[in-house]
């Protein structure tokens, strides 16, 4: 995608997360420990950029996303929107709510099957009383639908009458309705067919170009994330393992986990079949009892005793950051 926007030091981030922690207790009085879904994540999102987040299932991507939009209140840490904290007493201030929107993974379940597309897209407008009901509302909804490439004359139909890709467009139209500054997308294309994925990915790219909205793009498909993001964060068991400009993270991964991930990803080129791949042993550990020290040390080929004792911090490695005691330094 477009080259990375200007250096960030100069600009204020729109969204900043610092020291986010979130645990889930499963069930009332359950004896199992809490699931530590997110355990200490910091990140900044700058205006107009796309921040990609990749990671394996259960590593806390969705939880992070929900905290970023204020659906979940962090146990520790704080999310700020242009310097203002998300949670003041009572809840999320309405104007911040308006400015930060979300697109969900499953386009079908994120649209109420009992509402027409018009009502779905109009919901945010009604809640925030942005447009009076009636003609004005219909025009505005039509406009939003056109923006995402849907024909406005189908606005009185129900979600199940649309195909997967179209449904996801409805979800995007809803997110755009309040003219947000930030849209957090939690795996917005994983539920779509491969032939439709590209349509939606292209739509995101185009919307960002034309509207300048900042995106957090969460996915487990490395190639898709690479394709849309300026910067990429790699999560492992509730923490960021690596973070930096997409080209840097993909081109010269510093964290062993990133390397393994890139190496394990199947490549649709039969010619490359013979390449040597890093095959990790075992499954990711359970987030209920994350390993001490570096969370990756149980599966890491580089691990030493130190890794199982000292938790590495996210530190600058070249143009990006990695949380590894033995991070791969750029050759130069």
């Amino acid at each position: 995608m477009a080259p990375s926007p200007d250096r960030h030091d100069a600009v204020e981030p729109v969204l900043r997360a610092s020291g986010l922690h979130k645990s889930y207790r499963s069930g009332f009085l359950s004896r199992g420990g809490a699931v530590r879904a997110v355990a200490g994540v910091d990140l900044d999102l700058y205006p107009g950029e796309t921040l990609g987040i990749v990671g394996e299932s259960g590593c806390g991507k969705s939880t992070l996303a929900r905290m970023l939009v204020g659906l979940e209140r962090p146990d520790q840490g704080e999310v700020t929107f242009r310097g203002r904290p998300f949670f003041s007493r009572g809840g999320v201030p309405r104007d911040i709510r308006r400015r930060v929107q979300m697109v969900f993974q499953d386009p079908l379940t994120s649209l109420n099957p009992r509402m027409t597309v018009h009502d779905i897209v109009a919901e945010p407008l009604r809640v925030h009383r942005l447009t009076p009901d009636g003609r004005g509302m219909r025009d505005r909804v039509g406009e939003l639908l056109s923006l995402v490439g849907l024909s406005p004359d189908r606005m009185n139909r129900y979600p199940h009458e649309f195909s997967g890709g179209q449904r996801q467009r409805v979800g995007i139209a809803r997110a755009l309705a309040t003219e947000p500054d930030v849209i957090v997308c939690d795996e917005p294309v994983s539920a779509l067919d491969m032939s439709v994925q590209a349509q939606v990915v292209n739509l995101f790219a185009e919307l960002q170009r034309t509207l300048g909205v900042a995106l957090v793009f969460i996915a487990h498909d490395l190639a898709v994330v690479r394709h849309v993001s300026h910067r990429v964060g790699v999560m492992y068991l509730g923490r960021l393992a690596e973070m930096g400009p997409a080209a840097g993270v993909y081109g010269a991964p510093a964290h062993p986990y990133t390397m393994a991930l890139l190496s394990a990803a199947p490549v649709p080129k039969p010619a490359l079949r013979g390449r040597t791949r890093i095959m990790l042993a075992g499954d990711p550990p359970s987030p209920v009892a994350p390993p001490p020290g570096c969370r990756f040390h149980t599966r890491c080929w580089k691990a030493t005793d130190r890794c199982s004792e000292v938790e590495p911090a996210l530190e600058a490695v070249g143009d990006h950051y990695a949380a590894c005691h033995y991070a791969e330094r750029p050759a130069s």
Partner: protein, 331 residues
């Protein structure tokens, strides 16, 4: 060609009835897999991949299934009675499901479920079956298998469960393993492990594998041959390298162009417009025509049959324009 193919299916049709309408899920599929070979059946959701697999396994009770030919290792499946067919299932041809959690019975122990194969097909006692199960679980890499045979599915991680399914699939050294999206529910790192495992067992046992997937990457990594399905039909098939290099069907071509490439991220993706047709519909011409950039008049009216292409090596494509595509690619 002394040995017959492990699986030979000709003209498979499957029709469901729902809400008073007929759904033609599979409309004339041919499949042939040789011994030791992996055939990837590619296609997007709803194209009829799973239905094809279930029809081969004989698991479709409520659908109308019609074959012209169905042979497993030269034996005619159509001529067999239900008991005979049942004795083949699980021993000669086996199935690996996509979602291991729902495919394992939550109330039976792992040992019971794996051992059942030995008891049903080999007539082993409970104890013998258990011993064999432990061996199998060991083979697929379950740590401390002897201790864990009595555990229940919910006590295993996703990757482990998938391994257990694989163990069941290879337990009786079948001729054919049908793996229905065996790795889509898994993480990339675990997916690689499982694919590797299936591939290793295939090599060691000389089994044929029908790998169902919608991931072009997965197909590229492990298969020898590829068949691409669209709307209940196979639209193209061929040897994997050739097919990826020079697709002879516009759908295959468009799919390949729609995947983001790690190495050239900046280019815009070539999206395929529209959505796949509903299986309830039967337009007269080519099913892909409404979305196809090459479509001409004939595509809308006449359905192109799957024809062998002159490039040889068993390539075939169902498109009125495949020859010009190949020519274009050659030049």
């Amino acid at each position: 060609m002394s040995e017959p193919p492990v699986l030979e299916i000709r003209d498979l049709h499957v029709t469901f009835k729902a809400h008073g309408r007929e759904i033609q899920a599979v409309r004339g599929v041919d499949l042939t897999i040789e011994r030791g070979q992996t055939l990837a059946l590619l296609g997007e959701s709803g194209s009829g991949k799973s239905v094809t697999a279930k029809a081969v396994m004989g698991l479709l009770d409520h659908a109308r299934v019609r074959f012209e030919t169905a042979r497993l290792g030269g034996r005619d499946l159509l001529a067999m009675g239900p008991d005979e067919l049942r004795s083949l299932r699980g021993s000669e041809m086996t199935l690996v499901f996509q979602d291991a959690l729902s495919a394992l019975n939550p109330v039976l122990s792992i040992g019971d479920q794996v051992g059942e194969l030995y008891r049903v097909h080999r007539g082993l006692s409970r104890k013998q079956a258990r011993a064999r199960s432990i061996e199998m679980l060991d083979l697929v890499g379950i740590p401390a298998a002897a201790k864990r045979v009595n555990d229940y599915p919910h006590q295993f991680s996703g990757g482990m469960r998938q391994r257990i399914l694989v163990a069941m699939a290879v337990a009786l050294e079948p001729d054919l393993i049908i793996a229905d999206e065996p790795t889509t529910a898994l993480d990339v790192t675990v997916q690689a492990q499982i694919l590797e495992l299936i591939d290793r067992l295939r090599r060691e046992l000389g089994t044929a594998v029908l790998l169902i997937t919608h991931d072009l990457g997965v197909a590229a990594e492990v298969s020898d041959r590829v068949a691409v399905m669209y709307a209940g039909r196979i639209v193209e098939r061929g040897e994997v390298g050739e097919l990826y290099d020079r697709p002879a069907h516009p759908y295959t071509e468009a799919l390949l162009a729609a995947i983001p490439d790690l190495d050239s991220p900046a280019t815009e993706l070539r999206a395929i417009p529209g959505a796949p047709p509903s299986p309830a519909e039967t337009p007269p011409g080519c099913s892909f025509a409404p979305r196809c950039s090459r479509a001409s008049e004939v595509c809308g009216s006449t359905r192109p049959p799957l024809t062998i292409l002159r490039t040889g090596s068993g390539r075939a494509s169902a498109c009125h324009h495949s020859e010009e595509m190949l020519d274009g690619a050659l030049t």
